[in-house]
């Protein structure tokens, strides 16, 4: 028997799902609600599930209202706004028992909408729009804004906050502003007149968001590139990294153009493919510009040969891999952490690369800057591995901070004065014993010239096929990689002394932290280490050694982080159990809690 009881009042703790049609203009209505809740001081999470399509396929948006300030996807759907007839059945099925479903009652849907334990709230949205607005496009768009008004009444959003947001969005378009406000108010009033508003699910003002912003990881990473002083960006358009370059372009247009001459302190190059994109980055960085490319898995596959060249010839490069579901074209708009191994060992031959794993937009900003510093310090490609969840969803983030005392770490780059003092420049020596050679830029002095090549070279930069000379350089590169382990952002531990430990990375952090709280509250003593970079520092080795039973939580099928840990640390791989989530949707804490409890129930030795 399905349960049919009134759910207890759920103030600031519930999830709403909007089921819409891609390209119908629903995104702005969903963002409006997200921002309204955020401005009411209540922590909120927005997750967009959209198809690889321009118009017509189903899209969903979930808003989790979370007074605890969790950042992961909600554990259950309490209310669905079902605006897509094609997915009604599925959307209804997904509502948690005791929940609500709002639909457009202009047309009867009774046959499809049969569930005893879900309350159906019909609103004649299309009819109301036809009554109040003219033109097909306007009516479609206003239907979205109108359901926002309905929802505002149902979950008790402050209409003034919504009016304020609309006023900002349409500051320069008074007619649109008027229409939007009207649609919101019609929906709001209609809901108040016909339903018992608010529902037990409701939003109550808090003060949890002071000093916070809502930002997506791609925008934050673009800000990081701007602030790090990147001047050359090259890319080939690919979902989901395109918005990173779009954001960089927008920021540069505002902050990098001479107001008098219109001349630009940057070059953005749309390349013919990802092979060219990474080539442009390598060429620009070789020539002393901070250069980057945003891409995703298929782009990483295409860049492999060049990445090996940059590794071996020791040229800085910054690559943002906004990971999407693979293999192959996979599901381009769904999230995964599936490129760890492809990036860590990108290219043929003995290659290893520096990877950074931001957990949030805030770290996308910070790590973008760190990536440029590390790339120049280490003279090697540095990957920032974010994913669709981080890159394209708006996250509550503490306001980004910038230290005006920051100066780029150009690494061992010889100045004209230093070159003048040399008798002879030799490219691949290791005078400091850290594996990092000195480099020079073209155009400075004929004394500084050297030849960059991916073919065998000796420590002087000369072509070689001599075994000892070849090995000498390869061994120094290995030494350099050990140096990298001490320079990259360290892994962060939460708790110590437990016998159980979780190791995870990136966007898993949000669900893992929530799971950790639940497990600990349930009496399970468990520690957590969030790996923030590859190569792993000593702290990773220590955490692994200190915990007899370890869970590696990640979002791919083949346990790629676990594989990296077993390859690159001394850990006994039998002690690493995988909790894997790879369906393409952001992870919730449920997956982690259930996964760990299942293993514990089997009687893991701890």
């Amino acid at each position: 028997m399905p349960e049919r009881t009134a759910a207890p009042a759920r103030v600031n703790d519930f999830t709403v799902r909007f089921a819409t049609v891609n390209g119908s203009g629903s995104a702005s209505a969903n963002t409006l609600i997200l921002k309204a809740i955020f401005r009411m001081g209540v922590p909120v999470v927005g997750k967009n599930f959209f198809p690889s399509n321009i118009q017509g396929l189903p899209a969903w948006y979930e808003i989790r209202v979370t007074r605890e300030g969790w950042r992961a996807r909600g554990p259950r759907i309490d209310l669905v706004v079902a605006m897509n007839a094609e997915t009604y059945v599925r959307d209804l099925a997904d509502v948690a028992p005791g929940g609500w479903l709002v639909h457009d009652s202009t047309w009867p849907r009774s046959v499809l909408l049969m569930r005893d334990d879900v309350r159906i709230l019909g609103v004649p949205l299309a009819a109301l729009c036809n009554e109040h607005f003219q033109g097909a496009r306007t009516r479609t768009l206003m239907k979205n804004v109108m359901y926002a008004g309905v929802l505002a009444a149902l979950i008790d959003l402050d209409l003034e906050v919504i009016r304020g947001l609309l006023g900002e969005s349409f500051a320069k378009k008074p007619r649109l502003l008027e229409a939007n406000v009207k649609a919101v108010e019609i929906g709001y009033q209609w809901a108040r007149e016909h339903f018992d508003c608010p529902l037990p699910l409701r939003v109550e003002r808090m003060d949890a968001n002071a000093g916070g912003i809502l930002i997506d990881g791609n925008t934050a990473a673009a800000l990081g590139c701007l602030y790090a002083g990147a001047t050359v960006g090259a890319w080939y358009p690919i979902t989901p990294s395109t918005s990173l370059m779009d954001a960089f372009r927008g920021l540069c247009a505002r902050h990098r153009v001479d107001p008098v001459t219109g001349r630009r302190d940057y070059v953005i190059l749309q390349a013919e493919d990802e092979l060219a994109a990474i080539g442009i980055v390598i060429g620009a960085a070789w020539n002393g510009a901070r250069a980057f490319t945003p891409t995703s898995g298929p782009g990483i596959s295409l860049m492999q040969e060049f990445l090996g060249l940059a590794y071996y010839a020791e040229v800085p490069a910054v690559i943002f891999d906004v990971q999407r579901v693979g293999p192959s074209t996979g599901m381009p708009t769904r999230t995964q952490q599936c490129d760890l191994l492809a990036c860590a060992y990108a290219s043929h031959g003995d290659t290893r690369h520096v990877l950074l794993f931001p957990d949030s937009p805030g770290e996308c900003f910070e790590m973008a800057v760190q990536a440029f510093d590390l790339a120049e310090r280490l003279q090697t490609p540095v990957f920032v591995l974010s994913d669709i969840d981080i890159g394209m969803n708006d996250w509550m983030t503490p306001e980004l901070r910038w230290d005006d005392g920051y100066r780029p770490d150009r690494g061992k780059l010889l100045s004209a004065e230093q070159i003048a003092g040399l008798t002879k420049f030799q490219r691949y020596l290791d005078p400091d014993g850290d594996g990092i050679p000195y480099r020079t830029l073209p155009g400075v002095s004929p004394k500084a010239a050297y030849f960059t090549r991916g073919s065998g070279h000796n420590r002087f930069g000369a072509y070689t096929e001599d075994s000892a000379e070849y090995q000498d350089v390869m061994d120094r590169l290995a030494r350099k990689f050990r140096t990298a382990a001490a320079l990259v952002p360290p892994a962060l531990a939460d708790g110590h002394g437990a016998r159980l430990g979780i190791v995870s990375l990136g966007s898993c952090d949000a669900p893992v932290r929530e799971a950790l709280a639940e497990l600990r509250a349930g009496g399970t003593a468990i520690d957590y280490l969030r790996v923030r970079a590859f190569p792993f520092g000593a702290e990773v080795e220590e955490f692994l050694a200190a915990h007899p039973a370890l869970f590696v939580v990640e979002q791919n099928r083949d346990a790629q982080l676990r594989a990296l840990l077993t390859l690159e640390t001394a850990v006994d791989k039998r002690r690493l159990r995988s909790i894997l989530h790879y369906d393409g949707l952001p992870m919730s804490a449920r997956c982690v809690v259930d996964g760990i409890r299942a293993v514990l129930a089997e009687g893991v030795r701890t």
Binding site: R263, L275, I282, G454
Partner: protein, 351 residues
């Protein structure tokens, strides 16, 4: 290759250019190509052109891909930085470097395999971007390092050293460059230094993407009867090709001819391929007619050489991008970073 390194002793009698540098100051490392290789003549022409132009050596940046031709960037202007990229992808490296510092003289050296097969995409898009760059293709119709396969520039009917006949249509980089809007298109012959040096100088000076397709015969794998990229017949009745895997030392063959003269460079079984200078009436500013002329002459088995097309006013890469006059790699950080105050302003939009 020769195993006798050239002595690096300045000859006090050598003439010097405006910078006080002599021709040898523009040389590079020792060539490891086959003795008599046409590419070495191209290298010598680049050295001569840079010397004559009195370019500060460090103002040059050298780019190449993979293959015999691409090795040559190590053999000229030792005082310039060089970048030997991956196969077929040199144009993107050069594009990035040129983006970072617009004031360098970029010289790219590629081959027919590098630019017309594996790197055709990058070559085509480099032309479209129109960077200020001299791009030389040392075109011999054959893969030398892998021992004699046809390249994409091999002509229909051309025979490989092993006797295979190529039946696929060649890709002509000159026609491609004309179609894609290159502002400077030329073809030359490695044995014709008199023509090549001025072309290199003009290409370096043209301000946009300057293509010189240099027919540069492979003395080891494509210098036999039946090849259309051979210069064995420049001198009549040269000796037969050497045995496989043995490279006989040869002396470079030099060709000199007056404008309008037609020269038999390669011949095979009654079909002639001719090098031909442009007649004085030719208009090198008419792109469509230039392309038609090159195609017409190709049907008659003639290579059109010399300056084929020039359009100096075409907007180059940095003009189109409205890039700052200063090199991007030299901009002070203070000018690039908007600072903490602006960050707070930017973030007002994220609430």
């Amino acid at each position: 290759m020769s195993f006798m390194p050239k002595p690096k002793v300045a000859n006090p009698g050598l003439p010097v250019n405006a910078l006080g540098l002599n021709r040898r100051d523009y040389e590079g490392g020792m060539s490891t190509l086959c003795a008599g290789c046409g590419h070495d003549s191209v290298t010598a022409a680049i050295v001569q052109a840079c010397y004559e132009l009195a370019l500060p050596p460090q103002s040059v940046a050298k780019f190449s891909g993979i293959g015999c031709s691409s090795k040559t960037t190590a053999y000229f202007v030792a005082g310039a930085h060089g970048f030997n990229a991956v196969h077929g992808r040199m144009p993107s490296i050069a594009a990035g470097a040129h983006a970072a510092n617009r004031h360098l003289h970029c010289i790219g050296v590629s081959g027919d395999g590098d630019s017309l097969s594996i790197g055709l995409g990058q070559f085509a898009h480099a032309i479209r971007r129109n960077p200020d760059m001299l791009y030389l293709i040392e075109n011999n119709g054959v893969y030398g390092l892998t021992k004699g396969q046809f390249s994409a520039s091999a002509d229909v009917g051309s025979r490989s050293r092993k006797g295979d006949v190529n039946e696929q249509r060649p890709i002509d980089p000159v026609l491609l460059a004309l179609a894609l809007g290159a502002p400077f298109v030329a073809r030359s012959f490695s044995g014709d230094k008199e023509q090549l040096v001025p072309l290199i100088k003009a290409g370096l000076a043209c301000g946009g993407f300057a293509l010189i397709d240099v027919l540069s015969p492979c003395v080891t794998f494509n210098d036999h009867e039946g090849s259309t990229k051979s210069y064995a017949y420049v001198r009549e009745h040269r000796e037969a090709p050497v045995a496989v895997d043995y490279v006989a030392p040869r002396r470079e063959i030099e060709v000199r001819y007056a404008p309008g003269e037609v020269l038999p460079v390669t011949l095979h079984d009654g079909s002639n391929v001719l090098l031909r200078k442009l007649d004085p009436d030719y208009d090198p500013t008419d792109r469509a007619r230039a392309a038609a002329f090159v195609q017409e002459r190709a049907l008659a088995n003639e290579y059109v050489t010399g300056l084929i097309y020039m359009e100096p006013e075409r907007r180059d890469f940095h003009t189109r991008h409205r890039t700052a006059e200063e090199a991007l790699n030299a901009l002070p950080f203070e000018r690039l970073c908007p600072g903490a105050g602006r960050l707070a302003e930017i973030q007002r939009g994220f609430r």
